[in-house]
Amino acid sequence: MKQHVARNLGLVVGILTVVFMTAPLVLVVLFSFNDSVVMTFPIKGLTFDWYRTLLSRDDFWGALRNSVIVTLAVGAGSTVIGTLAAMVIVRMRPRVSALAMSLFGLPMMMPPLVLALALLTLFSALGVRLSLMTVVLAHLTFTMPFVILIVTARLRDFDTAMLDSARDLGASPWTAFRSVTFPIIRPTLFGAGLIAMALSLDDFIITFFMLGGGNTLPTLVWGMLRTGVDPSINALGALILLATLGTSALALRITGYRG
């Protein structure tokens, strides 16, 4: 009897938590289709008007373009550099590699605000002008640790006898990588790259500090909020949500993540 109560209580708490966490997201999506300027219940009717309003804004297209550039550059950059780093790390002696991992992981654990300030200080000290380039560099610092973590884990359980065999059969180190390592870890690299892209796509704080002018999608949301709440923000939010969820889901699927 007691157990029964405890189990039900657990279930109730679980459901409440899920509701609490997803309700705001559901609301955003719901109101993005709501046929009314005021965001209140009950929903009057469904419309695509807010999406139409959003797509007719010039600053939306600029922000979308910037977001696409940054996301793709960060995805490609952090995958390539992170993979190279991971390949070096797995060759290190255990204690050295543990140290390297925690050093690389530092930006991931720092509060984004602190990281943003630190990078801003660095760039202004170096006299680097803020641009999409600085945004990309900044995003690399916190997306790369994820790539390194994922790829290192994959490489650690990579059967080294395969590489030895490749070398033995005439492959140079590079040929062995190209013909054996890469095809085998390719899904992991895609997955890691997509996770980096998802992280980059919805970053606001660091982007906000690094962006010289213009907008990315998250800074556009912020800008629109300041000039008055309009349901087309919800449309934008829903689009960002869709893109982030899409890349993450694809990443999990490709890397074969199960629960």
Binding site: D159, T160, A161, M162, L163, D164, S165, A166, R167, D168, L169, G170, A171, S172, T175, S179, V180, P183, I184
Partner: protein, 364 residues
């Protein structure tokens, strides 16, 4: 036809430069030191063309290290490795005329069996038609026809083993290196693979170096056995030599069961406990006389033996193929004798003896 294939190896031009009769592989003072841990002490070794050499020794004695130095995966900390007259000490694996079958096989999971086998030839830019022909030749040789389009992960252990073998053999290596290739297989499959290895070696010739810690496997396969202990090469010889005339105590005990009787050597003669002395050159001092349990005679036959002692049976074990007796001699040594007859029981007094031809003398 395969013999011709081996002879026309891509590496063969060098062969002409080497005087006939020179060993195919020559190790001179080769040693490996892992940050102060001496895994292989300086050793010399030669391997002749056509040899099937087994490197035999207990776990951790440096067998893999030695083999990987031959393959180019570990650089010796000192010494020189020559293959076919060419110094390969500093060459990476891809530049060596050796190929290796690894303990974990190292098959490529993203390629079919055929693609795995053809990998090395494709890298060498062999014309596609020749690759296809030679792959087929190998598939037939290792009897994998039915599985050739499968991924290696869909094969049994023994089948994977054969793919690894074919993938190395297709390169027509001057020396094929194998690191405990059958360690992961069950006893029955292991025996079958040993037969297959013998068949392969007979069929295609070539020079094989095979690492194992199982002395029966070494004897079943190799024409020469290198026994290692603690990074030292203790003896290199035929199965008969290492079994019947082991060079020291370790080899005596590692390659089979052995009895040891203490004795003294003085002026090149060893005195046995029954007063007999035998010529045995070497340093003066304590020595051990070794003799195998199955070479000991008990009861009536022992009376005619070169060495004959009195003793009493302390234990009798029926082991199926033979009966094992433990005999305490009057001089206080315990000897283990394997005999076919089983009519002695514990407590019986008997004679136990052996012929001088069946004993060996090692320093103790």
């Amino acid at each position: 036809m395969l013999q011709r294939a081996i002879d026309s190896s891509p590496h063969s031009p060098i062969t002409d430069a080497v005087p006939a009769g020179a060993p195919l592989v020559r190790l001179t003072g080769v040693a490996k030191d892992y940050n102060g841990f001496q895994a292989v002490h300086p050793l010399d070794m030669t391997i002749e063309r056509g040899d099937f050499v087994s490197i035999l020794g207990p776990s951790g004695c440096g067998k893999t290290t030695l083999l990987r130095m031959l393959g180019g995966f570990i650089t010796p900390s000192q010494g020189r490795i020559e293959v076919d007259g060419v110094d390969v000490t500093a060459l990476p694996p891809e530049k060596r005329a050796t190929n290796m079958v690894f303990q974990g096989y190292g098959l490529f999971p993203h390629m079919s069996v055929r693609q795995n086998i053809g990998y090395g030839l494709r890298l060498a830019r062999t014309p596609a038609r020749e690759v296809a022909e030679r792959v087929e030749e190998m598939v037939d040789l290792v009897q994998l026809g039915a599985f050739a389009e499968r991924a290696p992960t869909a094969l049994s252990g023994g089948q994977q083993q054969r793919v690894a073998l074919a993938r190395a053999l297709i390169m027509r290596p001057k020396v094929l290196l194998l690191d405990e290739p059958f360690a992961a297989l069950d006893l029955k499959l292991r025996k079958a693979m040993q037969d297959e290895m013998r068949r392969l070696h007979d069929a295609i010739g070539g020079t094989f170096v095979f690492v194992t810690h199982d002395q029966t496997e070494a004897m079943a396969l190799a024409n020469r056995i290198a026994v290692m202990e603690g990074g030292h090469l203790r003896q290199l010889g035929t199965a008969e030599e290492i079994y019947l005339h082991p060079a020291n105590h370790f080899v005596s005990a590692f390659v089979g069961e052995a009895n040891f009787v203490r004795a003294m050597r003085r002026n090149g003669r060893v005195a046995l406990s029954n007063g007999l002395t035998v010529v045995s050159p070497g340093e003066d001092g304590d020595v051990e006389i070794g003799v195998r349990p199955e070479r000991l005679m008990i009861g009536a036959p022992a009376e005619g033996a070169d060495v004959c002692l009195r003793g009493s049976v302390t234990e009798r074990l029926f082991l199926g193929a033979h009966v094992q007796y433990r005999v305490l001699t009057e001089s206080g040594e315990t000897l283990v004798a394997n005999a076919l007859e089983g009519h002695f029981s514990p407590g019986d007094s008997l004679r136990i003896g052996w012929n001088l031809a069946d004993q060996w003398v090692v320093a103790s």
